[in-house]
């Protein structure tokens, strides 16, 4: 197996099994792929195909049952929970279909949260939060609670939060799934801008092939826990 030089994400025979009673569910089985640094990739498949489980594995939220996942050359399968937390804090950012902003915190507080975990100095933190909010066009909404924001604003806020510690990789789990088309468009445009201008590697889970073909240059197709097809759009 040849290691692609400069790969942002690389999976080698990655597998995740669950025990459910007497049966073993093969949520992800023997998945191998690689995504180059600065790539915008999509992970496609019907629901239950294992794409969210794979994304959780890549995010360091779940543990591999077999195989390896390397992100920026570092092997997640050998990390203990402390190292995984550090990895989640600094190396990847994650956004969700349901945004997952903490409802009791203002937008600014939400964005500050990963900076607190990273023990960023306070003065620097304030500037960074402002910068992030400005980047996603929400500087005027800083003091609002998530419930006072539109879905699109919430997701843009979530993106700002995911990028707080300047990760190299952004993992997006159906980022437009809860948004209307206009807001969805806005969020996708933002992701593309971040990818193109800041060189952030993006891997987006979606079940909309149209969305994938519009934004991603590489599409990974999953079914029944296996990777069945990798499509690469020509430049």
């Amino acid at each position: 197996m040849n290691t692609e030089i400069g790969a942002a994400i690389e999976a080698r025979g990655a597998s995740r099994y669950y025990k459910m009673g007497d049966t073993t569910v093969h949520a992800v089985e023997d998945v191998s792929f690689s995504i180059a640094r600065g790539e915008f990739a999509a992970l496609l498949g019907p629901s239950g195909s294992g794409k969210s489980t794979l994304l959780n594995l890549l995010a360091g939220l779940d543990h591999l049952s077999a195989g390896k996942i390397l992100v920026a050359g570092r092997d997640l399968s050998t990390m203990d929970s402390e190292a995984l937390a550090r990895y989640r804090r600094l190396s990847v950012g994650m956004i969700f279909q349901s945004f997952n902003l903490v409802p009791t915190m203002t937008l600014a507080d939400n964005i500050e949260l990963p900076l607190r975990f990273a023990e960023t100095p306070r003065a620097e933190r304030r500037d960074r939060v402002h910068e992030l909010l400005t980047n996603v066009g929400l500087a005027h909404r800083a003091a609002h609670k998530p419930t006072e924001l539109s879905g699109g604003e919430q997701q843009r806020g979530a993106i700002a939060r995911a990028l707080a510690n300047r990760p190299a990789v952004l993992l997006a789990d159906e980022p437009t799934g809860n948004l209307d088309s206009r807001n969805g468009q806005e969020v996708m445009t933002l992701l593309r801008e971040l990818n193109e201008n800041m060189g952030v590697t993006v891997l987006m889970v979606t079940h909309e092939p149209a969305l994938a073909s519009q934004y991603a240059r590489k599409s990974l197709h999953m079914a029944d826990g296996r990777l069945i097809e990798i499509l690469e759009a020509s430049r």
Partner: protein, 439 residues
């Protein structure tokens, strides 16, 4: 996560469930209050007792007597067959000087007691006279004297016991400044070294004070006396004393001896050593030191029980903390999942819950100390109303020392953090994938 962030987040979380956290914190406050109330009562009673007993001078005092003393003979014979009373040294002036030279000794005074007839106006009373040393000035009963204490160590002045003063005048305070005459028996050197003679004498004294309470907490023989004169004056009067007849028949007649010397030390700390030294000089010595030891033991046990009862409420409060935090874990499942996804480690999550528990403990502890103090003041107030109804002086039975305040708060925080162990572990264990699953 740095500590400041931890407590900022903890405070925010507590504000979000304000009522629940406030109630739990009040629970801790009540627990701490009961602990503080109980313990400060124990401490207060102890210091009250100490103050009273220490002020009596009892623990700074060793009583020395010769072993020839008849009262001691039987006791010694039982305990110590080799110690023959007739061989024992005499408690004379030489012994008095030796004892006075021991380290820590402030004063050695003889126990002067004699019977005498007191003539006041047309009233004549046969009563017991006693010498009162100048050091008795600091003593509780003497401190509250009506009138004043002796002006000097050899003044011709007397203090009267209240009952006796009442006997002399209906309005007992009106005896102050008046004079009385004491008829007494003076011991004079005899014609030979084996005899002395006794002669009746009279001496005038000015009444300077009336004592309401008995000197030495009523625990010493001289307190039975009704008329007190300065010990030095009494010595100079060469009062014939009950023990003088014993002296006459002993081997060293003519010499001035004492039936008992009261040794007063600079502090109670010297008592044990002085008592030991005196015993080595082959005199009998007695102090109330042993009594203090058992009193201290009593208060240690009392404090322990008060502490246990006080802690019960705090134990109940700690269960409330467990309950509140477990609820918070359930309620904030998703939030914990988000925090973990954003890079919070298990330790961060755990610390956050500990911080919340500690914050409740700290606030509850501070509130509890204040509450306990108020309860204490109230009890003290009530006690003093009762005491004043009983025509007794107000007392401070309530002591909240600074160390108790600090210890109570630290204890409250500690108990709260202990109560936080289970909820914190549960929060840290939470699987972020499960917690974040789309609902």
């Amino acid at each position: 996560m740095i500590r400041q962030d931890l407590f900022e987040l903890a405070a925010r979380n507590m504000r979000n469930a304000r009522l629940r956290n406030a109630l739990t914190t009040m629970g801790i406050a009540v627990g701490v209050a009961s602990l503080v109330a109980m313990l400060s009562l124990g401490i207060g009673l102890q210091s009250f007792a100490n103050q009273k007993l220490m002020k009596s001078g009892m623990f700074q005092t060793v009583f020395v007597s010769g072993k020839q003393d008849i009262r001691n003979m039987q006791r010694n014979a039982e305990n110590d067959a080799d110690n023959k009373p007739e061989d024992a040294p005499v408690l004379n002036d030489e012994a008095r000087k030796k004892i006075a030279a021991l380290p820590g000794v402030e004063e050695v005074v003889p126990d002067v007691r004699a019977t005498g007839e007191v003539v006041y106006g047309d009233k004549t009373n046969f009563t017991l006279l006693a010498g009162l040393p100048m050091s008795a000035r600091d003593e509780d009963a003497v401190e509250n004297v009506k009138g004043r204490f002796f002006s000097s160590a050899n003044a011709d002045e007397v203090l009267l016991q209240r009952d006796f003063a009442k006997h002399l005048e209906k309005d007992s305070d009106s005896v102050l400044g008046k004079t009385l005459t004491i008829r007494y028996a003076e011991r004079q050197a005899g014609e030979s070294s084996t005899s002395f003679s006794i002669e009746r004498k009279e001496k005038q004294f000015r009444i300077v004070g009336v004592l309401d309470a008995e000197p030495f907490g009523g625990m010493r023989m001289i307190s039975r006396a009704r008329v007190f004169l300065p010990t030095q004056t009494a010595e100079e009067m060469n009062l014939m004393q009950p023990a003088d007849t014993q002296q006459l028949v002993r081997s060293t007649p003519g010499e001035r001896t004492y039936s008992m010397l009261t040794v007063r030390m600079k502090s109670a700390a010297y008592a044990e050593k002085v008592e030991e030294s005196v015993k080595q000089m082959n005199y009998s010595a007695y102090s109330y030191l042993d009594a203090t030891k058992s009193i201290r033991r009593f208060f240690a046990v009392l404090d322990m029980f008060l502490g246990i009862f006080g802690s019960l409420a705090l134990a109940v409060a700690s269960l409330a903390i467990v309950n509140t935090l477990v609820m918070a874990v359930l309620e904030r499942r998703r939030e914990i999942g988000i925090m973990k996804a954003l890079g919070a480690s298990d330790a961060d999550v755990k610390k956050l819950f500990f911080a919340e528990a500690a914050t409740m403990g700290l606030i509850g502890g501070v509130m509890g100390v204040v509450l306990g103090w108020i309860i204490g003041r109230a009890i003290n107030f009530g006690t003093n109303i009762y005491l004043s109804k009983m025509k007794m002086p107000a007392e401070n039975l309530w002591t909240v020392p600074l160390w108790l305040v600090a210890a109570a708060i630290v204890f409250a925080v500690l108990v709260s953090v202990l109560a936080g162990i289970y909820p914190a572990a549960r929060a840290a264990r939470l699987d972020p994938v499960q917690a974040l699953r789309y609902e």
